[in-house]
């Protein structure tokens, strides 16, 4: 299958600390990829480098065949890479629907009634229509998580990176978010999901990549990765 994202030999250092060293990753068009690894293993750094929130020190990242590692984040968003944040970062001075209007107007150039209609469409799809006019400080944790995904969707991405969208949610809430992600994927969006909740990773991913100390230590089917002794050691220790 054709790959939509290619990460080759990407490294990132913070002072003397190496957060990523020589990471190689290819993601196929339409794939559902799970990214796992213990805390501090570099998952978020990797997706920060992919989304452009951080610039990688070494290596090359290309998206749809175009080198993007020097581009600022907003350009990458316009090319089709959207992400959600681990800790929701809503635009607090705006209502939920206004949050979606930002990417709609900046990425897609849709404004006014048309944008409102499109935003409502996305929110309805996630069961958030009733809260569209609610100020973001009135939203519950699960609603904020969903809004993060909705805002990412409003940018009409080809690749969505979901950074622990389910952390801290209850069982039924996890299923809700999982359903949203699967629905997006069925519409042709490639998804990278970072997650600690193994039940979700197993149910969602076609392929799982495990990071530890800034390097990929294992990749393959979910069952294969979970059974891998290196992965077990990374999580549980010797």
């Amino acid at each position: 299958m054709e790959s939509i994202l290619e990460v080759s030999k990407v490294s990132k250092h913070f002072g003397g600390f190496t957060a990523l060293s020589g990471v190689d990753l290819r993601v196929a068009q339409g794939e559902r990829l799970g990214l796992i690894g213990p805390n501090g293993s570099g998952k978020t750094t990797l997706i920060n480098c992919i989304s452009g929130s951080l610039l990688n020190d070494e290596g090359e990242i290309s998206f749809k065949g175009k080198a993007i590692s020097k581009l600022p984040a907003h350009r990458r968003t316009c090319l089709g890479i959207a992400r959600s944040f681990q800790i929701p970062r809503p635009f607090t001075s705006m209502s939920m629907i206004e949050n979606l209007m930002v990417p709609l107007s900046y990425v897609c150039g849709i404004t006014g009634d048309q944008a409102e209609q499109k935003a409502m469409e996305i929110l309805s799809g996630m069961g958030l229509a009733a809260k569209a006019r609610t100020a973001t400080n009135q939203l519950s944790q699960v609603e904020l998580r969903k809004m993060e995904l909705a805002r990412a969707m409003a940018a009409q991405p080809a690749l969505l990176i979901s950074d622990e969208a389910m952390a801290g949610l209850s069982g039924s809430e996890i299923d809700e978010v999982l359903e949203i992600l699967l629905d997006m994927n069925s519409k042709g969006i490639t998804i990278i999901m970072i997650e600690h909740i193994m039940q979700a990773v197993m149910a969602f991913s076609q392929r799982v990549v495990c990071l530890d100390a800034g390097q990929i230590i294992c990749e393959g089917t979910p069952e294969h990765v979970v059974a891998d002794p290196y992965v077990q050691r990374a999580y549980l220790g010797d």
Binding site: S51, G52, S53, P72, A73, H74, T77, C78, A82, R83, F85, R89, P90, F91, T92, S93, M94, E98, M101, V102, P103, S105, Y106, V107, T111, R151, A152, A154, A155
Partner: protein
């Protein structure tokens, strides 16, 4: 449409007022209040909309004043040329400040802007042509047709500038640009990932804000008929320009207007009736009261009242 009619109305009304036999002192005091409106409105474009707190207002006001002086001394350019040149120079200064925001955010950005005041002040102190540390005595042109006196003309010019500043702030607030600024104020990373070119927007906001601040400072040499660095780069400008939007409300263009009228008027009254030293105290006390009791300013109080009376 209504907004523009009101604007035109104000400009015409002010023109009528300067032609009337009202005491000159009224215009002298009114100028200060109008200048406060421009400063507060200009500050709010960056501070309120984009959330980048600029403590360097005196750098812009002083630069504007000295840029105007430069035009006056070198080519004896008329006031309009002085103002435009001042806006150009301080707009460029604003652009440079915007570049600082690439590296510094939050309080660190603010501290860097304070440093700018001292840099610009030192530059002027060592520039003999512009009067250096001792300053320069200036004579206002006697001719100010169709106005009956130069101070009256300055008053009217300031009315026009205030209207322009408010129109720009209002336009930005409801625009595509304004939406992007709000997004980056709330979360710069999230805005960037939502496709907002944050750096470009910050540079634009800094340039517009800086140009307006400088333009507001441009008439100062002629207004005072004197210029010297210490009062031109006075940090009181920084405190006022920040206090007025906070007191009025930073989320709406009308906030800085309300705050500036309230604060500058009280200051003028206190200066005349009690003491010119005490007027700075008024700013401090009101600022503390509002930050504690009404952090969203008068606009916030009004919104709360409206919501509760529904």
């Amino acid at each position: 449409m209504r907004f523009w009619s009101i604007c035109a109305g104000f400009i015409v009304l002010a023109f009528g007022l300067v032609q009337s036999p009202v005491n000159d002192y009224f215009f002298f005091a009114g100028f200060v209040i109008l200048q406060a409106i421009v400063l507060a409105t200009a500050w709010n474009i960056l501070g309120g909309y984009a959330g980048y707190v600029n403590f360097g207002v005196p750098a812009f006001v002083g630069t504007g004043a000295y840029a105007a002086l430069l035009v006056h001394l070198s080519i004896s350019g008329p006031l309009i040329v002085q103002i435009l040149f001042a806006a150009l120079v301080s707009g460029a200064l604003g652009f440079l400040v915007g570049l600082i925001s690439v590296r510094l955010r939050g309080i660190f950005f603010s501290i860097a802007t304070v440093a700018l005041v001292f840099i610009m002040e030192t530059l002027v102190i060592n520039w003999r042509y512009l009067g250096g540390a001792t300053g320069l005595q200036l004579t206002r042109p006697t001719e100010a047709w169709p106005f009956d006196g130069y101070v009256r003309m300055l008053f009217w010019v300031m009315v026009v500038m205030a209207v322009i500043a408010l129109a720009i702030a209002r336009y930005i607030q409801d625009s595509h640009f304004g939406r992007g600024l709000r997004a980056l104020r709330d979360s710069e990373d999230a805005a960037e990932c939502a496709g907002v070119p944050t750096l470009r927007l910050k540079l634009m906001a800094c340039t517009v804000s800086g140009a307006l601040l400088g333009a507001a400072g441009a008439p100062m040499p002629m207004y005072m008929s004197y210029i010297e660095p210490y009062s031109s780069f006075n940090l009181v400008y920084a405190v006022s320009a920040l206090a007025m939007p906070i007191i009025g409300g930073m989320s709406h263009w009308i906030g800085p207007l309300v705050g500036a009228i309230l604060l500058a008027t009280i200051q003028q009254i206190v200066t005349v009736t009690i003491s010119s030293e005490l007027n700075v105290l008024v700013v401090g006390v009101l600022l503390v009261v509002f930050v504690i009791a009404a952090p969203d300013g008068i606009v916030g109080l009004y919104r709360k009242w409206k919501a509760s009376s529904k």
